[in-house]
Subunit: 460 residues, 2 copies
């Protein structure tokens, strides 16, 4: 995979002479992303592309080429791959559509590609792929604009959609591999690369259909002890499976069986694709949760009720707070105030201010041995009501406490995005847009604790 | 309810002398919100409050007072209500906590309030409430800052959280009633007001526990034919129900039974509170869907698969597109491109540009008699890639088509919020953040069609 992810030299075969907005010029995108290695444009009709000499064929470049990126029409692909073999290139990305995702002729051509990879030892990523993103090396083969983020998240997917809009699908990603139709390079190869990559701490996978499963599953079971792996499998319904077939030619397989096999390895398995960015930021930043007892601190009794529903759904429960904790809060509250969990601190806020009341409450539950994790419900006010914004006060509390219990938050109010960024600035408190996701996040952390502490003999 | 929602004169009893940030001064908030009626501050310890003469008791104001808002400590509340009766005030809001939400003494006092309302004919909203918002009349009793939105959404809730952060819970709201502990004014009263209110087109309800159910349910069954009613019920779990009890003293009741009764009326019932803003904007802006056949137009085969999963889950299905439609798209696509539904138009985009390819596709499926509703998957690019932004092109198409089929969208990419606003600018295309919500939205519109066309004899 090193040749794909971090090549010192690249041939761009079939690259267009057009550049600028709307041309999707891969060479331009690659340069904009910061690639500083050698680029050899190959196009029989062009003398020069973006100021670089173009070669009529890759066979006459006569330089060491780590990776070929092929963007020419499908009918030319097999001959070009043969040229790559002749030029001693060991890795090629076939970008174009029109193979297993298309008609019978396309399927035949993809089959020939598979055979060529096996026969000649050239590794092929794709076809029907945007290729790779490597923000650490400043390298991408995507012809669509992508964002550079030096974060420890590795993405494996089968559709370019995950490269174009990653924040929607995975949160920020540091490196990515789009397997496309997966004629050769598959899930095992990509997972192995990320497993051994010190830049990557967590692996996010969007799966249409698993390939290389026999190697992938036991590897995943080993990797997951060190690095969380989060999987969303699409194509679970009958119609979805049919669509997956026509998209990348994936056999989506039996969803229930695959789900069971993936979960068995210790993978965090998501029922909905939209959960991925939240699962990633949860597992990346927060400690595993040692038990299922959750303390809720809230400005609003209404929110406390909604959370209670979510906890029960995810196998968690409201902690019975220690009497010492209750006494501490009672000292700040009116005498008639019934205090339990959820801990409604609004009367204390009215009497002592939001920062003081909230800090005392959070410090208390962090110390309470009967609490495993904490949900904070807070207001995201406009700047003129910043005295209600407890993001700084709560970060001060968690920074002076051991990072043993996950603290997550849910904010409501007119200034959600900005206050979320303030809460998350230290990567110690994570904010979720719905209470459903907040409770779901704690259940991922609970499962994570079970996975990393289980004493199994490995998965075969 | 008119006295609560649009009073010509208000007595503010127990109002604080403090003002400015952190004081939560109701009188200040009321003025900032634009209230132009008479205000009579009542506070035995203050000569003047915010430049207005303060009265030691409401009984000596000697003017016609439509509404009293009582914010003094709980022990004083019953005497003050008695004063209100003496002053011939017909409507009072009791803001403070400390009644059924608190201890035995609080429960006794709330019971005395109930009896006073029955005996003296004074109507009471609360206790434990922020009261009302009426953006059309520029009136609110909330001591927390709230936003003025002249939109046709009426909100009924039992927690102030829905006033403070409505965009999270309900989307924009035009009017709102916080029932709080509901000692007197309840769900029936509030629904009746919104049912008859020409400013209100849709009613959003966050329910902890239903009260006035015998009157509420048959009224809801009648109202729902004209105005959609969307309900989220919290406190569904055992722990949630217990929390509801301690929050507003609500008996959350049997969730399944209540859910069945609410659904029977034709109410749109939400399984998750976070769905409310999406349900509201869907039912407010889009036409009911006449059948369950959905066309999907997408830049990305991967997204098509995810949508297929969502459709099946919600009882919808992929439409079989007419051959005429397929032929039109085939004319824009490479010959090897297999075209069906989901309609993957990326190759056509590469050949003819995003706006042309997408407009042709949307126009075609809008005309196709085998299609009842449409999901558009599109990129939300940064301004420098605005040639991929089809928001204007698609709005042109829907504006020149009859508004018979709902068109909804899901966008991915770096510029989600701005492109969403562009798509939604004509209120004809609504955007959803996840595919799960996009398919859910169509199922709400499908159910809506069934409700408004069903021939029932009314609900008793």
């Amino acid at each position: 995979m090193q040749h794909f992810m971090d090549p010192k030299s690249v041939a761009l075969i079939g690259i267009s002479r057009k550049s600028g907005p709307g041309s999707f010029n891969l060479m331009e995108n690659m340069s904009d992303f910061g690639y500083s290695g050698e680029i050899y444009p190959v196009n029989p009709n062009a003398g020069e592309i973006l100021g670089k000499k173009a070669y009529p064929s890759v066979t006459i470049v006569k330089k060491k080429i780590d990776l070929a990126v092929i963007t020419s029409p499908r009918n030319t692909t097999l001959n070009i791959l043969q040229d790559c073999v002749a030029a001693n290139i060991k890795a090629a990305i076939v970008v174009n559509q029109g193979f297993n995702d298309a008609d019978r002729r396309g399927q035949q051509m993809q089959q020939q590609m598979v055979e060529m990879a096996a026969r000649e030892g050239i590794r092929i990523l794709g076809p029907n792929t945007l290729g790779v993103i490597n923000s650490f090396a400043g390298f991408t083969t995507s012809f669509m604009p992508v964002t550079k983020q030096r974060v420890g998240v590795g993405l494996i997917c089968q559709s370019g959609i995950h490269f174009v809009g990653p924040t929607k699908f995975s949160g920020m990603i540091g490196k990515g591999v789009d397997l496309g139709n997966s004629c050769d390079i598959g899930f095992y190869d990509a997972l192995k690369y990320f497993a051994e990559d010190p830049d990557i701490q967590i692996i996010a996978i969007h799966m249409e259909g698993l390939n290389q499963g026999q190697d992938f599953l036991p590897l995943a079971a080993r990797v997951v002890k060190e690095k969380p792996i989060v999987v969303h499998k699409s194509g679970r319904s009958e119609t979805g499976a049919k669509a997956a077939m026509s998209h990348t030619g994936s056999l989506a397989g039996n969803y229930k069986l695959l789900q069971a096999a993936l979960k068995q390895t210790g993978i965090t398995f998501l029922e909905e694709g939209g959960q991925m960015p939240y699962a990633v930021k949860t597992l990346q930043n927060l400690p595993p949760m040692k038990g299922n007892r959750v303390a809720v601190i809230t400005y609003s009794g209404g929110a406390g009720i909604m959370i209670s529903d979510g906890l029960e759904k995810h196998g968690l429960r409201l902690a019975s707070l220690s009497s010492e904790i209750i006494d501490q809060m009672a000292a700040l509250s009116p005498s008639w105030m019934p205090l339990s969990n959820p801990l409604d601190i609004w009367p204390a806020v009215m009497m002592h201010g939001a920062r003081k009341a909230y800090s005392v409450a959070l410090k208390a539950v962090l110390r309470d041995p009967q609490v495993d994790g904490i949900i904070c419900v807070a207001i995201a006010p406009l700047p003129e009501f910043s005295f209600l914004n407890v993001s700084e006060a709560l970060n001060d509390v968690v920074e002076t406490s051991p990072a043993e219990k996950p603290v997550i938050g849910w904010t409501y109010g007119p200034n959600t995005m900005e206050v979320q960024m303030q809460f998350e600035s230290k990567n110690r408190i994570m904010i979720f847009p719905t209470l459903e996701l907040a409770t779901q996040a704690l259940s991922w952390l609970r499962d994570r604790y079970v996975i990393i502490t289980r004493d199994d003999r490995g998965f075969i």
